[in-house]
């Protein structure tokens, strides 16, 4: 019973961060029909941001989020404006290949500049885990979990309550109709891509103290990310949140009850099954 509780807790903690990465990818897909293969590299950049913030300026990784999130937002908007905008009319496969190129470019530039060394972030307050009710909870993961909930909730309120958020949802539902109602689809796309990048960067910053950092970490993350958004239904924010938590649970429970070696395989098998039999996601809200 203790093992079960322990794996549920760590599954939910990791899952909350997966959810954040997934939400970024799914919002971008919803509005622009881009499957952004460079999303994992954006997470990687966030991780390195946290690392260098601590190494160079003694900045606490969790505090550094206030620098990296706006920067990633701005960077994302620039990438959309100067790189992606011209590609989108070419269709989904072209943007897929283009973002694959972008992903390889970013990852290899990072390899070139930062080398392939594995790095870790060591925090003084994170040496021993908390033990509420006898369940071990690593402090960096708990902090990341808390911040992830705050950020995701803020995003949800933004999408649900503000005019800009409504315009994003409207574009996601039907770009032509949104344009006819006076929504500037191009500007919305730019903001959305900025938003997706900022979420990826934020997730990277939050994940950095709990994972090894290396330039090609994005490759693994993007694969997990597809599992998440397809589980939840491509284009659905709530679906991505649920998908993220679900994948976190599947991985941690799978590691305990099925096999440590095959825990990542379970996620991919579920991914294939969902793609084949429920292409609109487990909750039937996505767009296929």
């Amino acid at each position: 019973m203790d093992t079960f509780l322990q794996s549920v807790v760590s599954g939910v903690l990791t899952g909350s961060l997966y959810a954040m990465i997934g939400v970024g990818l799914t919002v971008v897909f919803g509005v622009m029909r881009i499957i952004n293969l460079a999303h994992g590299e954006l997470v990687m950049l966030g991780m390195y941001g946290a690392f260098w913030g601590l190494a160079l300026w003694k900045l606490d990784p969790f505090a550094s989020i206030v620098i990296w999130v706006p920067l990633m937002f701005l960077g994302g908007m620039l990438v959309y404006r100067f790189l992606l905008r011209a590609i989108i009319p070419g269709g989904e496969l072209n943007t897929l290949l283009y973002t694959a190129g972008l992903s390889l470019l970013i990852a290899n530039l990072a390899l070139f500049v930062w080398t392939g060394d594995y790095r870790t972030i060591k925090l003084k307050y994170a040496l021993a885990p908390m033990r509420p009710f006898g369940i071990a909870v690593p402090i960096p993961l708990a902090l990341a979990f808390g911040l992830a909930i705050v950020i995701t909730a803020a995003l949800y309120l933004f999408l649900a309550r503000t005019d800009l958020g409504r315009a994003i949802r409207a574009t996601s539902q039907n770009p032509e109709a949104a344009a006819l109602m006076g929504v500037n689809v191009d500007r919305i796309s730019m903001v959305t891509f900025g938003l997706g990048s900022a979420l990826a960067g934020a997730a990277g910053v939050l994940l950095a103290p709990s994972l090894y950092l290396y330039p090609t970490v994005g490759e693994i993350l993007i694969a997990k990310c597809f599992v998440i958004v397809v589980l939840g239904g491509l284009g659905s924010v709530v679906g991505a949140i649920a998908g993220g938590v679900l994948l976190g649970l599947v991985e941690s429970l799978g590691a305990v009850y099925v096999s440590v070696a095959y825990k990542d395989t379970i996620g991919f098998v579920i991914f294939l099954l969902v793609l084949l039999f429920r292409p609109s996601g487990l909750f039937g809200v996505g767009k296929s």
Binding site: E92, L97, A100, E219, A223, L276
Partner: protein, 319 residues
Amino acid sequence: MTRAAALAAILLLLALPFLTANQFYLHLGITVLMWTVLGVAWNLLGGFAGQVSFGHATFFGVGAYTMMILYLKAGVAPWYGIVLGGIVGALVSLPIGLICFRLRGPYFSLSTLAVAEIVRLVALNWEQLTSGPVGLLITTLPAVSFAGRAVNWESKIPFYYVVAVLVVVAMLATYGLSRSRLGAYLLAIREDEDTAESVGIDTVRAKVVTLALSAFFTGMAGGFYGLYFRYVDPDAVFPIALSVEMVFIAVVGGLATVVGPVIGAVFLVTIGELFRERFLVGHLIFYGLFMMLAIRYLPEGIWGGVRRFVSAHAPARNL
């Protein structure tokens, strides 16, 4: 005219090892040719049928492991192993095709990525068969003689000719496919799958057969990789990056052409290997950069661009 050009190209290919004794250039030539096979193989499905697979590393790895395991555990000579690697790759592709071809466009691409990751994880963990992360190592290659002379496995030249043969066969297969009924089906599928189906083309069958052909050549290239490097492990032959590099070579060179992937391989692999020789890491920077430039400015690839330029500037003539 084209026949003479092809003959000249083949003669140049055969003569190349005599033009240099520099081991690095020979290694570069072998690497370029191996990636040419992969680009050409990927192009059969990705170029002609428009089905973008991000999972071809599966067939490469299966081919490499088939050749290694058959040689190490059953004593099957590597050159048979290469062909058998292709055959096993093609067999493995059948169930994968039947599953993944139920999906279209980007969804197909993502599903192949997932399959490739599953296969990689299985190879990593099925230790009785693959020795897991430790990998498999060939210490000595069997003695063999060709045209009355013993083959010197310490030299790079025999490997060069083995892979050169693979390139020529794969290109001939592409040429054959492009002029066949199946080739016409594939173009129809690429342009509009629903219409292709409505005129009576069995689209799933056409795609599965093409995937098997593509997997056959990819598997043979994998078998060659095992023979040349004499060592395979799951991270070397099954990574996502390997699948992606094949895509880039075909797209940057020119999709759905016989020559395009060759140009792509010569161009990208040469830049990549020179970069690696000089800086050790980050050799795929230019792959990413040229992919982005190609999609933006030259969607038909380098070879397609050259052909368009030539036909626009050449004086009119009767062909």
